[in-house]
Symmetry: C2
């Protein structure tokens, strides 16, 4: 067995040797933190000599610290299942059709047995090789639209994705999955929520916070959840499907207009802000958390309204802000400014003359709250009332990122500022709601054991 412990070295390699197991062995591992069952994966990372990486039975990869392993016992060999080359994705006329649109980033990957290298998987056959469970769910088609890091997304890409979605809906797919880097996934989610109106099928954005060659990758599970949501979910909305909690057993479906990345590296990074997510999803189930989603339809009607004004910006207010910041944006030709204000939607009085100058020049200025949760309430204090009087418009509980995308979209549609205002204040895809539900602030997040323990131990 050449390269039977491919990529392992140091402590981890010695542990495999000690228990006479190798890569692709299906093993039971006892550690001082519990027991696990999974297949030993080859390693591509040479820096790490401390972990043995297991692919657990539900598709999740786990790095087990070698120095915590007490015993390893081989149950079977899985080599054949992993060594097979790309196979044709099995077609079954009884399964829904799902289209996966690639935009960049690694969605899933295959491990090359001979070299231990990680090969990005994208075609249906490659994905089938990497995540064979997909074939239980749907007939998968894939198309790479482009391949960029998500921070480099521009209005051009948002428009291209929207148009591709329109085309695929007309072609008859039952659901669409968009592979996307997580950094700006929520901006694209908002853009597609406006550019694609009245979709009859689910449109699911998915990515991974940990690339698929790493232990603890969420890539395969997120993809399975997203494909399941696209194929079977009853919610025909633009949604982000990502890891829901510290548990690896379920994901959440978030509305594209109400979701935000809230942690730079955790897998449970996406949160619905000021509302509750649409549903909990697993590779086997769709459980609605709310009932007011837009349901799936059988028709093929969809309205693609893919426009965007690039001279639109976010101004993040901070105390001590000088008016020259506003003047500089107007001088650079910006036509739309979304302010992330403090409190109920405030800026300092020093900015007022610059804001008046901007509005006099026809710049559309909209207010959101940098607290992220809550509403603009600009009638409560003098500051807000003065801003309203100048023509600044409060966006309620639209999150700043969503208001920015909506304003760029509205300014792309029309130069009539009254019409822009009408569009901005019309709720679309749940971007603006009358009430925040009771648990809209604390967030459907789960998993607070240490906090709960503190509160239990320190009752009042």
């Amino acid at each position: 067995m050449p390269d039977g412990r491919k990529g392992y070295r140091g402590v981890a390699l010695r542990k495999l040797e000690e228990w006479d197991v190798a890569v692709w062995a299906d093993v039971e591992v006892d550690t001082d933190r519990g027991s696990f069952r999974g297949v030993i994966l080859p390693r591509a990372e040479t820096e790490d000599d401390l972990h043995v990486v297991l692919k657990l039975q539900h598709g999740y990869n786990l790095g087990v610290r070698a120095d915590r392993i007490r015993r390893m016992h081989q149950v079977a060999r899985k080599e054949a299942a992993y060594k097979i080359p790309e196979k044709e994705f099995p077609f079954d006329s009884g399964r829904p059709r799902v289209k996966l649109l690639g935009t960049g980033g690694t969605i899933a990957s295959r491990l090359d047995y001979r070299t231990g290298a990680v090969i990005p998987a994208f075609t249906p056959g490659e994905l089938y090789g990497a995540v064979p469970e997909l074939a239980d769910v749907c007939n998968l088609e894939t198309e790479k639209l482009f391949g960029i890091f998500s921070e480099n997304m521009t209005s051009k890409e948002w428009i291209a994705i929207a148009k591709a979605i329109g085309r695929e809906i007309e072609r008859g797919v039952d659901g669409i999955v968009i592979g996307h880097g997580t950094d700006t996934m929520h901006y694209t989610g908002a853009a597609l929520s406006y550019m694609v109106q009245r979709s009859p099928v689910p449109i699911i954005l998915v990515g991974s916070q940990r690339s698929s060659d790493r232990p603890s990758s969420d890539a395969a599970l997120n993809l399975r959840n997203a494909v399941r949501a696209a194929a079977y979910s009853d919610a025909a909305e633009v949604m982000v499907c990502m890891f829901g909690t510290t548990s690896d057993r379920w994901a959440l479906l978030h509305r594209g207009t109400r979701v935000r990345k809230m942690h730079s590296s955790y897998r449970s990074t996406f949160r619905t802000i000021g509302d509750v997510p649409i549903a909990r999803i697993t590779p086997e189930s769709f459980e609605p958390i709310r009932t007011d989603y837009t349901p799936r339809r059988r028709d093929r009607e969809v309205e693609i309204d893919a426009v965007f004004e690039d001279k639109c910006t976010i101004l993040y207010y901070y105390p001590n802000m000088q008016p020259d910041v506003v003047d500089a944006l107007v001088g650079a030709g910006y036509r739309g400014i979304v302010i992330a204000g403090t409190g109920l939607g405030h800026v300092n009085r020093a900015l007022f003359p610059a804001i008046e100058r901007a509005i006099a020049k026809g710049v559309a200025i909209y207010m959101t709250v940098q607290t992220l949760w809550g509403y603009t309430q600009m009638h409560v204090y003098d500051t807000g009332r003065d801003l309203i009087h100048m023509g600044v418009v409060g966006c309620g509980n639209m999150i700043p990122e969503t208001a920015f995308i909506k304003l760029g979209w509205a300014l792309g549609k029309t130069r009539d500022l009254d019409e822009v205002r009408r569009i901005m204040l019309t709720p679309i895809a749940g971007d603006l709601t009358d009430r925040e539900p009771f648990d809209g602030y604390v967030v459907l997040q789960g998993g607070l054991p240490e906090v709960e323990a503190f509160l239990r131990q320190h009752p009042l």
Copy 2:
């Protein structure tokens, strides 16, 4: 009894008449949501005819919906206690000295019996009249530094507060409370964390989310908690003391550098980001949640370093950002830019030439994450590595608002950009930590009954 039901009308007035009770009656109220005991307060708000407002025994005001009241029973009359005019704050040589510095906003108020008007309370005597429990805790002195809405705070006010703190510490006070509007309280918290170094006593920022004439006001309780923390807390740090959860029984003490306002209107708006709060506080207790705070000292040494560079700004990155935004800031003479980047600290490639031009002109550019939770990790992807190569410096888990304040402070101290970098990357007052604790993301928040109920009812 003239004006015996002052300010009441409609449903609420009829309910008082039905049970023959009036303002200042100490009553037991049975409702379909439970029973309450408290003193009926006069109303100043004429819009609301639905609520009877009670001052509960622990000082919290509660608005009880009149249509839910089944019975009201007068236990006693409290009129005398509320009608007394301003009294001298009782002095007791055994109690700690606390100095309350006013900056604006209403900290507490007295209800004028004859008119029902709300009179802001600020002098020790007025505060004693409004919140007599303060006299059990400390000898209170007050000083109004200025009176402005907190969005209008500038570096001038931050510097004035820092200097007043230095003076009061030298005068021998045992703790300082700063009354402050909540909107920008965390910016001031960060500014004082840098401008006041090595304080021997607690410095507590406090405010209220609901003004003291409203039912459900948090003003009196926050003030009692803050004064208690200033007088007795062992943590000699700059801290925000505000409502901790949906319960009205405790408050949290947050580090000034790690706290952020997270809801525009809820009382439980302040959260420690990426860490756990320092302590839970009640009017009777100080319970440390962490042990690594800086302890109180008996000496009177303190270092006031009150400087700030006003040409410092926050650039909130969004995909599709055009380079002219960066050029405009540089053109306006900005010397420091804190970017709130996406993901691990990224912006798009289109900005790279503008960032290079800015750095060539001597602009200090620092990177934070707009996810708020998590760390910049700019070595992971090409984008981050390229930004590092250009001279952009990652700020780890410093929150964007704190990094902005720290950069303004550092640029106020020196024009040497290497020294600025050294200051920025040196942890001060917990602004930059090596590790995020397990419960640093989900936040010590408590009170998730609906979420917990959902998870219990839908086990996986």
